[in-house]
């Protein structure tokens, strides 16, 4: 039973971690994009 | 086809002549081989039977010597910016690649000429063994084909020393698995050798063809 929980636990943490990573990356790139589009030359 | 062979031969001769003139890589590789065996001599428990661990030592040494040798073939050209000059000639990319891979294979083979007797001295394995020589020749050809393909990629990026082992070693696994078995048999492990050699020949053909086809895309611009 502990093997089962360990295996699924690892998989869920890894996949959830990857989803969180994607979301955060997407947010930070989108925020940067807004900055660049609004700020013009100020955002070097 | 004749033009292809002529270009490949010329490039291989050029590389080997440069090496013979500068005498940089071969002495370094020879020293590396002896040092690797010395480390293995103390790292492994030789008391349990030197000839049983010898195939593994041979393989570790060959793969890492191969990385050194193949890495240099393109890195040196890159440092002197002579790769660009070579690529400006109308010669086909595949022929240039074949020439460089051939020279690299010859360098690794020279390294094995040091390795096998040294292994005999340190681990008591047979030195003059036709099966061993056959297995090593097969393995060297295939490893050089794949290794030079990734060396060409790695040389054109930053941090090429990091990239070459990471790309080459996983793809060499078929050679390590089948060649490893062939070397074990050749060094007296018992078993049948012809099947392994035939398989290595198949791998050689496959990967040399694949690497030649891919060379065109790797050696562009």
């Amino acid at each position: 039973m502990s093997y089962l929980i360990g295996a699924y636990g690892f998989a869920i943490v890894l996949l959830a971690g990857y989803v969180i990573y994607l979301v955060r990356q997407a947010r930070s790139v989108a925020a940067r994009m807004d900055e660049v589009e609004e700020g013009g030359p100020a955002a070097g | 086809m004749r033009a292809y062979l002529r270009v490949a031969g010329a490039v291989a001769r050029k590389d080997l002549r440069t090496e013979l003139r500068s005498r940089e890589m071969l002495p370094a590789l020879g020293q590396f081989v002896v040092l690797a065996l010395l480390i293995a001599n103390f790292g492994f428990d030789v008391g349990t039977g030197g000839s049983r661990i010898a195939p593994g030592v041979l393989w570790l040494t060959i793969t890492f010597a191969g990385l050194l040798a193949f890495g240099r073939t393109f890195a040196a050209e890159r440092d002197q910016a002579s790769l660009e000059a070579l690529l400006l000639t109308p010669a086909s990319r595949a022929a240039i690649f074949a020439g460089k891979a051939l020279a690299a294979a010859a360098v690794l083979a020279a390294c094995e000429v040091v390795l096998v007797p040294a292994l005999g001295v340190f681990f008591g394995t047979p030195v003059l063994s036709l099966p061993l020589a056959a297995a090593l020749v097969m393995v060297t050809i295939g490893m050089a084909g794949l290794g030079c393909l990734f060396a060409a990629i790695a040389a054109q990026t930053r941090a090429r020393d990091l990239l070459l082992p990471v790309l080459s070693l996983p793809l060499w696994v078929p050679f390590v698995v089948v060649g490893g078995r062939a070397v074990q048999v050749a060094l007296g492990g018992g078993g049948e050798l012809n099947g392994a050699l035939a398989l290595l020949l198949d791998f050689d053909i496959l990967f040399v063809v694949v690497a030649s086809l891919a060379a065109k895309f790797v050696l562009d611009d």
């Binding site: 039973m1 093997y3 089962l4 360990g6 295996a7 699924y8 690892f10 998989a11 890894l14 996949l15 990857y18 989803v19 994607l22 990356q25 997407a26 790139v29 989108a30 940067r32 994009m33 660049v36 589009e37 955002a43 070097g44 | 794949l146 393909l149 990734f150 990629i153 054109q156 990026t157 930053r158 941090a159 990091l162 990239l163 990471v166 790309l167 070693l169 996983p170 793809l171 696994v173 078929p174 698995v177 089948v178 078995r181 078993g191 049948e192 099947g195 398989l199 791998f203 496959l206 694949v210 690497a211 891919a214 895309f217 790797v218 562009d220 611009d221």
Partner: protein, 224 residues
């Protein structure tokens, strides 16, 4: 070419529900295996993750071939996205398989199992692919290198599998629990979980693709 945001969101929501259903089936519906006990339930994520990873790497292969053919940046972006998702799924496969092997085979790692070794090599190849993509300066050359590594790597994997199988035939055989035909309840659970994981892989690749496209737009905007 880019997947539409609303479609992607719809797929993500549908997949979340599907994953929930699959979890319910695995926990409450699928019977414990007569021989292996509950540990066998690792199979419901382990195998679909492996299938999805292979499909993702097949996408890398096709993306690479298309790129070499017409230099479409979209094909390369798709290949890169699929390589990363495939690597995550391969990690899931490897670790779950290793944990399963401990109680069933008595060891985490069996060097003569062709599937184990070829999955590890698969992982190493695409980890190398992604490292190369990070090191190489983005552009046509990096995309071409990626295509070559993606294609040659994909060719290598079945050969590794074959090599280890060959190696094993000349070695003392080992006992493995041969799975018989699956009872219907297990089959249904497996089918649903496979569907859920495959859709998850597709959704992740879709989002990863959009992220990559956004990054490229940002880089282009910064260049101006």
């Amino acid at each position: 070419m880019a997947p539409r945001a609303d479609l992607l969101r719809l797929a993500a929501v549908a997949d979340a529900l599907l994953l929930l259903l699959a979890t319910g089936l695995v926990v409450f519906y699928a019977p414990a295996d007569a021989v292996q006990g509950v540990v066998q339930k690792i199979f419901y994520l382990h195998v679909p993750a492996a299938i999805a990873a292979y499909m993702a790497f097949a996408v890398v292969l096709v993306g690479g071939l298309v790129y070499l053919w017409n230099e479409s940046p979209a094909a390369d972006r798709l290949a890169r996205a699929a390589a990363e998702v495939g690597l995550v799924l391969t990690t899931v496969t490897l670790v779950m398989g290793s944990i399963w092997a401990k109680p069933i085979w008595g060891t985490y790692w069996v060097p003569w199992d062709a599937r184990l070794v070829s999955t590890l090599v698969l992982w190493l190849i695409y980890a190398g692919y992604l490292l190369m993509r990070r090191i190489a300066t983005p552009g046509r050359q990096a995309a071409r290198f990626g295509a070559v590594v993606g294609i040659v790597g994909f060719i290598d994997v079945p050969i590794v599998h074959f090599s280890v199988t060959w190696w094993r035939t000349i070695h003392p055989p080992i006992e493995t629990a041969a799975p018989g035909a699956l009872p219907p309840a297990m089959l249904l659970t497996f089918a649903i979980s496979s569907l859920a994981v495959l859709l998850l892989a597709a959704v992740l690749i879709g989002y990863r693709y959009r992220l990559e496209a956004l990054r490229e737009r940002l880089a282009a905007a910064l260049d101006r």
